[in-house]
Symmetry: C2
Subunit: 251 residues, 2 copies
C-alpha cells in the first residue's frame, strides 16, 4: 500500500530517551541561569515527581550532566546535586580521552604545544596586567634561586610557563594548554633530570628575553622568542624520548 506515498527526505528519526530530554532541560537551565550555580537542584524525588519520570530516569540524566561537568552530587542530608559551570578539569578529561582513544603520539603533543604556546606568549604581551608581570618575575626569581636544586627547578619552570600562559587571559587556549600539560610530563618522565648547568643557564636567558617582550607589550617578539625557546626544548627532548611513544593513562 505505501509504495507510492510521498516520501520527504527524513534521515534517521532521533528517538529521544526520557533521561536525555530531562538532561537537555537541566543543561539548558544551568547554562542559562534558571538553575543557579551553587544552589542545589530539587531533590531527585522532587524532580521525578514534577517531570513525571521515574527516579531511575532522573538519575541517568544527572549522571550525564555530572560527566559533562555541569553538576556535582553529594549524598546525605544537606547534599544534593549542585550545578556548576564546566571548568578546565572537564575539558581536560575530554581531551585526555580523545588523545588516548585516537592514539595520539607523543610527537604530536609536542607539535601542539609548539603550536599554541608562542601565540599564547603573544597574547600575554597584549593582555598582561601588572599582576601577571609580578607573577612572571616571581617565577623567574624562583627558578634562579633553585638553579642547582632539580625538583624545585622543574617546578619553577612549570610555574613560569603557567604565568606566561595565564597572562594571555584567553580562557579557551589556556584550557587547551593545561589539558596537554600533564600528558606531556607523563610521557617525558615527569621531571627533567637531563638538564646540564649550561642548559639551565640558557633557559634562564631565554625566559628573560620572553618576559622582556611581554613587559614591553611587544607581541611579535614574545611569540618569536617563545617559539625559539620551545623549539630548543623540543630538540632537547626528542633526543631522549621517541616522538612515536603512544600516550597511556593519565596520572
Amino acid at each position: 500500500m505505501p509504495t507510492t506515498q510521498s516520501r520527504p527526505t527524513l534521515g534517521r528519526i532521533q528517538v529521544l530517551k526520557a533521561s536525555g530530554v530531562l538532561a537537555e532541560h537541566l543543561r539548558e537551565g544551568i547554562l542559562s541561569g534558571t538553575y543557579v550555580v551553587g544552589a542545589a537542584l530539587p531533590t531527585e524525588r522532587h524532580l521525578a515527581e514534577t517531570s513525571g519520570l521515574s527516579r531511575a530516569s532522573v538519575r541517568e540524566a544527572l549522571r550525564m550532566l555530572e560527566v559533562e561537568g555541569l553538576l556535582a552530587t553529594r549524598p546525605g542530608r544537606g547534599g544534593g546535586s549542585v550545578p556548576q559551570l564546566p571548568g578546565h578539569d572537564a575539558l581536560q578529561r575530554a581531551i585526555a580521552l580523545f588523545i588516548r582513544g585516537r592514539h595520539i603520539r607523543f610527537g604530536a603533543l609536542l607539535e601542539v604545544r609548539g603550536a599554541i604556546e608562542p601565540p599564547l606568549a603573544r597574547l600575554a604581551a597584549i593582555h598582561r596586567s601588572e599582576a601577571d608581570l609580578a607573577e612572571l618575575d616571581a617565577a623567574q626569581a624562583g627558578m634562579e634561586a633553585a638553579f642547582s636544586e632539580l625538583p624545585a627547578w622543574t617546578e619553577g619552570n612549570i610555574r613560569w610557563h603557567s604565568a606566561v600562559v595565564l597572562a594571555s587571559h584567553n580562557d579557551l587556549l589556556i584550557g587547551f594548554w593545561k589539558a596537554i600539560g600533564p600528558l606531556r610530563y607523563a610521557a617525558s618522565g615527569l621531571d627533567e633530570p637531563h638538564n646540564s648547568p649550561a642548559v639551565r643557564s640558557a633557559v634562564i636567558g631565554a625566559h628573560r628575553r620572553v618576559a622582556d617582550a611581554i613587559r614591553a607589550r611587544d607581541g611579535a617578539a614574545a611569540e618569536r622568542r617563545m617559539a625559539h625557546h620551545i623549539s630548543a626544548y623540543r630538540q632537547h627532548i626528542e633526543a631522549q624520548t621517541s616522538p612515536d611513544t603512544e600516550l597511556a593513562t593519565l596520572e
Copy 2:
C-alpha cells in the same frame, strides 16, 4: 583523645559509586582493547549479573560512557551498547560546553583561531601528502569557479581552510580547530555576505600564496602567510561584529 595521633596527609577520601567503578572498568576495557570496538558489549542484564550490580547501576555507567563518546546504544533485538573510540564530535561537544559555560567572548574565539591556524599551515607544509595537495587545489579551483556565487563561495572557502588543516595530520589540533569552527560561523552570521569582489580577489591571492608554500614544504612561509591572511580576515570581521558578543547555543 585523637589530638596527638599520627595524621598522615589524606585529602578527601574518594567515595566511589558502583556505577562509577563499573564505568571505569568498561572505559579502561574499551580503551585498552579488551572490549572490541564495534562489537556489542554484553547485555545490560548480563553485565548486571556478572558484576553483581543492579541493572539501574549498570545503566548509569553506560550513560556516562555514552556522554564520553565511548559507546553508542541502540534498542531492540540485535541492538546493544557498542564501544567506539571518542571522535571529534565528543571533543567538540565538550569544548562547546566549556565555551558556553565560561562565557567565552567571540573575540577570544577569533584569537584562538588566529593562534592555531597558522601553525596548522606550517605543519601542513611539513606533513602534507600528494592527496592533500590535490584536495587543496580542488578547493581553490572550486572557489575561483564560484567567484560570484556567494553560498558556493563561502562553502568553498571553508573547504579550502579544512584542506589546509587536514593536511597537518595532527589529529588533536585538527580537533581543536573543528570544534571552534561552527561556533565562529554561528557568531559571525553563518555566511559572509559582506565580501566585495575586491576582497574576494585578495582572498584568492592569499590562498594561492599559502598553497605554494605548502607545496614547497616551506613551513615558515606557510605559517607567515596564513597568519597574514587570517589577520586581514579578522580586521574585516571585527569591523562588523562586536568581539564582545557572547557565544550562545551551538548549531
